[in-house]
């Protein structure tokens, strides 16, 4: 279970507040969607959960199964079960995708006090995962994300999530830059990972993604807070009416 309580965050020099007392609880097995206009702080929230160092935490806590993530380094958070699928996955020339995947999986196993994966087991898991997402073997030999299209990068993020088996997967605008076919493949990849002990936080601008990854709860974010919470029908309402109602609520 992920519990965020009264989270206040500014960018590093403290000059600009981005999150203003955000509260959010996501139960095990729950898929929560966060929607909101540009600049409402959605991506910042995802980065702060994952531990990006550019932010100053002014107040609040983020608990994953009772452990405060804010006390942990980003790699320790990953080992504890946090996975952030990046909106813009980075290219790392010279690091073969397979090398990277193995390094990440082994680092997390070590951090949890488990043994390293045997190479044949690793290869088999990658092969099965890649096939499900339509990732050709040739892509796995190339430098991580180097020369990949937007859709290929997003599929690679989902493959990483499948291999790392997090307890919470955060999808930061995973639908951006995807055509409809890629959107379906990525959504199916996410749906296949849904389980009773894994939750998701799906961040998106548009309702379209939520046709494919159907959320249990929808939260509207504005000016660094959750201003409305509802079921999946709330997404449809937003699609029809826009954010104007909720944005002005906060302003008033």
């Amino acid at each position: 279970m992920l519990e965020i309580r009264n989270l206040h965050v500014a960018i590093e020099d403290g000059s600009k507040r981005i999150l203003n007392g955000l509260d959010l609880t996501i139960h095990n097995g729950e898929v929560a969607a966060i929607m909101g206009p540009n600049g409402s702080g959605k991506s910042t929230l995802s980065y702060v959960i994952a531990g990006k160092p550019d932010y100053e935490i002014l107040d609040g806590e983020i608990l994953l199964d009772g452990e405060n993530l804010l006390d942990m380094e980003p790699d320790a958070r990953a080992a504890a079960g946090v996975f952030l699928a990046f909106q813009y996955p980075l290219e790392i020339p010279g690091v073969a995708t397979m090398t990277f995947l193995k390094a990440a999986m082994n680092a997390q196993s070590r951090a949890r006090g488990e043994g390293e994966l045997k190479t044949p087991d690793f290869m088999r898991r990658v092969k099965i995962g890649a096939e499900k997402l339509g990732i050709p073997q040739e892509m796995l030999r190339r430098g991580l994300n180097v020369g990949f299209s937007g859709g290929e990068k997003k599929r690679m993020e989902i493959l990483q999530m499948a291999l790392l088996e997090p307890s919470i997967g955060i999808l930061d605008e995973t639908d951006s830059g995807l055509d409809i076919d890629a959107l379906k493949i990525v959504s199916e990849g996410v749906n296949a990972l849904r389980s009773a002990d894994r939750s998701f936080l799906v961040i998106t601008h548009y309702q379209r993604l939520l046709n494919y990854i159907v959320p249990d709860t929808v939260h509207v974010m504005s000016k660094g807070r959750i201003v409305k919470t509802g079921g999946k029908e709330l997404a449809l309402e937003l699609e029809a009416n826009g954010y104007a109602d909720y944005v002005s609520d906060v302003a008033a």
């Binding site: 994952a50 531990g51 990006k52 160092p53 550019d54 380094e73 980003p74 790699d75 958070r77 990953a78 080992a79 946090v82 996975f83 952030l84 990046f86 996955p89 980075l90 790392i92 020339p93 010279g94 690091v95 090398t99 990277f100 390094a103 990440a104 999986m105 680092a107 997390q108 951090a111 430098g143 990483q160 790392l164």
Partner: protein
Amino acid sequence: MPITSPTWRLEDHRMASITPLKTSAELALIAQGAGLSAERQTAFGRFAASGLPHRRVEAYHYTDLRALLKDAPPLAKAGGIAPSGFAFDGVDALCVSIIDGFPNLDGVKAVSGVSLSLSGDAPDDGLAPNSVFPVAGDPIVALNAAFVDQTLHIMVEAGQTVEKPILLRFVTTHAASAYSRVVVTVADGAKLTLIETHEGVASALANSVVQVVIGDDAQFEHIRVNLADHQATVLTTFGGCMGARSSLSSGNFVTGGGLSRHQVFFRLEGEGSTATVSGASMLNGRQLADTTLVVDHAVPECVSREHFAHVLDDEATGVFQGKIIVRPHAQQTDGKMMSRAVLLQDGATMNNKPELEIFADDVQCGHGATVGALDDDLLFYLRARGLPKPEAEALMLQAFVGEALEMIAHDGMRERLEALSEAWLKARS
């Protein structure tokens, strides 16, 4: 293969009038030079007139030998023994040791198509009209020509492919000055891989020159590795000229030496030739490593590629000076040069000086130089996948250095150099 192209000269470094005081290194060198034979006095005289090059000499601006060389240790004596535990023992090669400047051919097996021999003739000092060096009057080469005792000659006959690499193991076993010279001829259509490795104890000064004439349609791969003690001085020069349709690949790997300078001087003088020059330096403490490169396109339709990577920790200093010259008739030249540096600490320094001198109007030439820290966003991406910070940094640096090492064609050497770079990174974290 006529050598007719004009000779490019370093800026004149005879500035005796403004550096009248001799340093202790210069005084030691002058005392050592007094014992030289008459035929070596020309090369020595050239050095003695100007002294050690210093920061007002453009080519030595970032590696001021006058200030950095505290002393010139005595000339090395024969009889030294190479240490055991050579990092490249497992490489299947024809190994020749050059201990304290003395090449030793005893027990070196004959290989068909190659002849190895020694001579005591005065070496090419870079000034004679038939010099293979495209850069005239370099003081490191002049000193080498003055002090070298026996020159090792390696001659590969026309059309011969030498399957095993020749590995020259240079070792300076005591705190002395060791001068070595190797003259390589790769005749028309021949193929050779030459590896030079450098080891040296603290306070040793090694000055070695490897010069090569690459014939028409010949292929030459060259790999230089500097693993000397961090208190040693290693000055090396690799130079020569290339015939038509020939290829050269030269890779350099440096983790050793307190003060080191590797000079690569090449002239492409046969049409359709290709030169690839690469290097990776991984330095820490107060090490300084300089790579100085001059690639001279003297004829049309040649290709040159240069890629250098520098990883600088602590208070280390990297220097890259790279110059591509395109002569007036060298149309259709394709030259690209890149030097990249990562600074791991605030105290580290990189001096990049890429230069293009283009006198032809139908060419494609480019150069780039970057200096920076590791990318924070990339680092976060790797850490968000569970890699602890030192491991994430090592992975990024391995990739950064790997780009340069990738250009080394010899599989066994490339793999060993990758392992050495991994070991360097592991020692750091």
